[in-house]
């Protein structure tokens, strides 16, 4: 698929709106408006938008926890307002304000995610199995981080997905760090994509800061999956602009994380660099970029207003939520 103008603009909007919402949550953490914790996704919007912007509503996705999945969610068609409201603990939140940070929108193939890292593997495996059984050429996309890739659940799910040729795209957001642990102290090789060969599965490394490069690689993996040729592992190299979670130190073990790392990546910020490219390629003008920025600023603010005005969560509904009827 070659991208039409509106496709390119969509990618840009998904990244930009995601970052604006990310900033709102960060602000909300400072004021106590956000109730639990927050793991900012700034720095990996390119990977997230490139992965999720052109999936179908009935494709399943397990969003990575960076930004609590906001860019994946928006790209998949989910609601930013509900995302914010959930973080504010409000009844109009994506999970009725029961959780403080989870997403769920089955109508968009967003079936949720767990608080334990590495659950992406068994859950996405099951969605991929269902997708294959459905026989409607759906795909399941499982997104995780470099640290998550150390969980044993990866091995079992990678093996079965390859063995059963399930329509799954495994996406690793390799930002080089897991909480305070640099990847060199978590995995002996350079590329996590190298794990794929052990399962006869293609493993592809892509520049996660380049939304178009990601989109192209993922598109190929999605087509391969839809065609019944089985899973692919895509590893996107990104960075984490901020600390692991708001308020936590920015360290490798006990030393400061070398600022050069982030600085180098920031020069290739997925949003700014893509804006530049869109202007160069005359897809958009400076003025367009500005007006999109204004528009999305308004959109985010409106979402924030609506989320903030949400009612308190319903305790009796919560008590009635242990079981499905």
């Amino acid at each position: 698929m070659t991208l039409a103008k509106e496709d390119l603009i969509l990618l840009y909007r998904n990244m930009l709106l995601g970052r604006k919402i990310d900033q709102l949550v960060i602000a909300g953490m400072a004021t106590g408006k956000v109730l639990a914790f927050y793991h900012s996704g700034q720095g990996s919007e390119g990977l997230a938008a490139g992965v999720a912007s052109f999936l179908n509503d009935d494709d399943y996705i397990y969003c990575h926890h960076r930004g609590h999945g906001i860019v994946y969610l928006l790209s998949k068609g989910g609601s930013g307002m509900e995302f914010l409201a959930e973080h504010y603990g409000k009844a109009n939140g994506s999970c009725n304000g029961f959780t403080g940070f989870h997403n769920a929108d089955p109508s968009k193939g967003v079936l949720g995610a767990a608080g334990t890292i590495g659950s992406v593997f068994p859950m996405t495996l099951g969605w991929g199995l269902a997708a294959k059984k459905n026989g409607r050429a759906q795909v399941a996309v499982g997104c995780f981080g470099d640290g998550s890739s150390n969980r044993g659940t990866l091995h079992e799910a990678f093996n079965l997905s390859a063995l059963w040729k399930l329509p799954i795209v495994w996406v690793c957001d390799n930002n080089g760090v897991a909480q305070y642990t640099p990847i060199k102290d978590a995995y002996p090789k350079e590329d996590i994509a190298d794990l794929a060969a052990g399962y006869d599965m293609p493993g592809v490394v892509v520049d996660g800061m380049d939304v178009l490069a990601v989109q192209e690689v993922v598109q190929a993996a999605v087509e391969r999956a839809r065609a019944g040729d089985g899973p692919t592992l895509v590893e996107g190299k990104t960075t984490r602009y901020r600390t692991h979670s708001e308020g936590s130190p920015d360290i490798f073990h006990i030393e400061a994380r070398p600022p050069e790392i982030v600085e180098a990546f920031k020069k290739r910020d997925p949003i700014e660099s893509f804006a530049k490219k869109l202007i160069e390629q005359q897809v958009l003008t400076e003025a367009d970029i500005e007006s999109i920025d204004k528009e999305l600023e308004e959109t985010a603010a409106e979402m924030d207003r609506e989320a903030t005005e949400g009612g308190m969560p319903d305790a009796s509904l919560m008590r009635a939520s242990l079981y499905a009827d």
Partner: protein, 320 residues
Amino acid sequence: MRQLSLTGAINEALKEELQRDEKVFCIGEDIQAGTFGETSGLVQQFGPDRIMDTPLAETAVAGAAIGAAMCGYRPVADFMFADFMWIAGDEIFMKAAKWHFLHGKKVNVPVVFLAAMGGGFKLGPEHSQCPESVVMHTPGLKLVVPSTPYDAKGLMKTAIRDNNPVVYFYHKALFGLTGDVPEEEYTIPFGQADIKREGSDVTVVAIGQMVHFALQAAEKLKDKASVEVIDPRTLEPFDIDTIVESVKKTGRAVVVDEDTLRCGVTGEIASQIMEQAFDYLDAPVKRVAAANLPIAGGFLETEVLPQPQDVLAAIEAVLE
């Protein structure tokens, strides 16, 4: 009436539900053959896509079932031995159990976790447990433990049709137990205890194989005392009302289970009886359960697990 073994009853329930609803499938290690016969013969009729043999990978088996359930399927995940559920601990106790609640009631997880539990085969501590308390303790999981072929079939059909995760434990010592199972379709609702024997002097609440130990004891004691034996059949939902009603009549209660005593289901049931029938109790509720030890294999298994004479002695003790 037509007789079936308990395993045969489970097998027939699976077969009927597989026939009734194409969304139902079975998944697990070596289930096409069926390690205990519970799934034997099904693949011949339903094919390998619905009776799925998997690699030796418990988190993947659990995940495949849980994930597919979220997408509208009704998988029965067979864990062979109940002990192995620990290996998929996160998937069963944190994913399946909490997902529906955690996602604002938007996603259902209609999965059945099937596993054989209990001792009697001298297989040691990793192949003999009855992990009932851990399941009953976990909000979001329903728990079925049948003691007869009739109950086994009716409860399995209900489990598969339930829109929530259901753990279904059947006891190894009861695999071959035969009993009446009507040809006609039937289901047994969850949360309805069954009075397996009526009595007026003492109430014995027993689970799984222990139901049979209790019935034997009741028979032995029939000239001395009238023993009521109640089988909860499902531990979640739990029918405490039938038990409390009985205790108000008898004034004495014994709770028998094969799981480890400490923080086991016996303590929970005994506490609920105390809370709801304290003024009717003529004696403290007595508990019979496994000793606070790993389950020894070999000749010493009987020293760890509750035996028929232990149940008998406990009933006699509360009657004094």
